[in-house]
Symmetry: none
DNA sequence: TGCGAAACTGGCCGGGTGGCCAGGACCGGC
DNA sequence: GCCGGTCCTGGCCACCCGGCCAGTTTCGCA
């Protein structure tokens, strides 16, 4: 019964590092049932690699700021973030303040938008 | 020199469709120089597949809501939005309320994040 | 050993946010 | 005509947010 169910899986690549892209392309190039997408072709899945050293450039967030930022991006309030991280609301505000500063944002919504734009976080 | 540089490429999977995830996992499972990441393990690249049919669908925002949403994504406050659109702050709140409702968000930051995720707006 | 960075906490306060109530105007469809 | 949707406005209020002041500990580095 329809073992013709071998629709090739078409993958597209979005990789910053050319060397890595090359290696992946050659590794994946000759696997049955799998194909790399032609430029512009619609793929069912995308392989993306962000080199953490390449992306953020010089934004340099601390570990805690990353935690707070991630929760902000989920719409969490300061109170929720505090509870989630087991710290006080004051401390959360402290980190949020630093985040607004570093991301050059006017508010938390702006901060999340900027961070997403720069690839610091993924929505 | 040092073509011993054959560090395994660690891939993580973020795929909505379980069947597709399964097929990919088995296809990629036995390729030399390539490995799937253990849960929580840091990967150099991610394979992600989002079914576009699941995403946008029928969110159906009104023209005014789109205006407000766009300005929200830029970090504008209700007051700023009101000034920009030439309407009162109350009206802005009214639209923001509808937006939170339609986007199933708990606040403006969450609303912008959801909208971006679904492709309603572009950051 | 001192010094800065990171992380944490507190109080205070003006202004922003979101939810509730109420209303009115316009316009297209049944 | 009447109804529903969109858009607009007002008041009220509890809560949240961001910025200011202050302090603590821990850690690594010079």
């Amino acid at each position: 019964m329809s073992e013709d169910k071998a629709p090739e899986i078409v993958l597209s690549l979005e990789i910053d590092d050319p060397a890595l892209a090359d290696r992946l392309a050659s590794l994946l190039g000759n696997i049955a049932g799998l194909r790399l997408a032609a430029p512009g072709e619609q793929a069912v899945a995308t392989i993306l690699a962000r080199d953490p050293r390449i992306m953020p450039e010089d934004i340099a967030l601390t570990l805690r700021e990353m935690d707070v930022l991630a929760l902000m991006a989920e719409g969490a309030s300061n109170k929720m973030i505090a509870r989630r991280l087991g710290i006080s609301v004051h401390t959360v505000k402290f980190h949020v303040g630093s985040l607004l500063d570093k991301l050059d944002a006017t508010g938390r919504t702006d901060a999340v938008a900027h961070a997403a734009r720069r690839g610091v976080i993924e929505l």
